[in-house]
């Protein structure tokens, strides 16, 4: 929790899936904070989507997403989003963001946004805001890999 309101660029990227036990460990680290009453956590998990691509028959099933990123721009953008969030929700004490790079199989976690605050409202709003901005503004690219080993590039809508 030492990152509270620091303005340095933090690395959000992790290689491979986010382990559920990492989420548990992150939660446990807040037990020393006597001013936190609420944690809100969003986790993204890889779905076995059935996709009909332009150049192949429909009903091809996603088995993994391979994530890459324009790392420097993503981290600078994330730093700006983080600073805006701490201004908008001054009661927020911590904000932890992690995103996977590399190949993440179906059922595994690729994304975590975790905010804590005194009362629930600010943590709740901050997580929704940060998740939405990351999805629309961070240059992260996802290759959906199908069961037949073909692929298609994912795009957030």
């Amino acid at each position: 929790m030492s990152e509270v309101r620091q303005h340095k660029v933090k690395d959000i990227f992790v290689d491979g899936p986010i382990d559920p036990s990492f989420v548990g460990t992150s939660i446990a680290k807040h037990a020393t904070r006597q001013d936190i009453g609420a944690h809100e956590i969003f986790l993204g998990q890889i779905r076995a989507d059935v996709v009909g691509a332009d150049d192949r028959p429909p009903n091809n099933v996603v088995i993994a997403i391979e994530y890459t990123a324009y790392r420097e721009m993503a981290l600078e953008t994330m730093t700006a989003i983080r600073e805006e969030a701490f201004v908008r929700w001054p009661e927020m004490t911590c904000l932890h963001v992690h995103h996977s790079l590399g190949t993440i199989p179906v059922g595994q976690l690729c994304f975590m946004v975790f905010a804590s605050s005194k009362h629930r409202q600010q943590a709740r709003e901050a997580v929704a805001y940060v998740v939405d901005r990351i999805k629309s503004e961070l240059p992260i690219f996802g290759k959906e890999i199908f069961v037949d080993n073909t692929h298609q590039w994912k795009r957030n809508t």
């Binding site: 994304f111 629309s136 690219f141 590039w153």
Partner: protein, 74 residues
Amino acid sequence: MEVLLFGMIAEKANTDRVQISATSLSELRTALTARIPDLDRMSYAIAVDRAVVLADRALNGTEEIAVLPPFAGG
């Protein structure tokens, strides 16, 4: 100048960076379209020094340029 390519655009170009000479973003777009197959049929944005720039602007060759296909994070 060196131009960074990502995702499906890097895949189409078969490389993650190309050398392009351009004095403006519009000139850069034209050169990229000539170099990268099907780029004119893809949606993409250009980032100059790590920020997306939509309007045309001059380039002096020292900028960090990147061609970004649709984002898919989260």
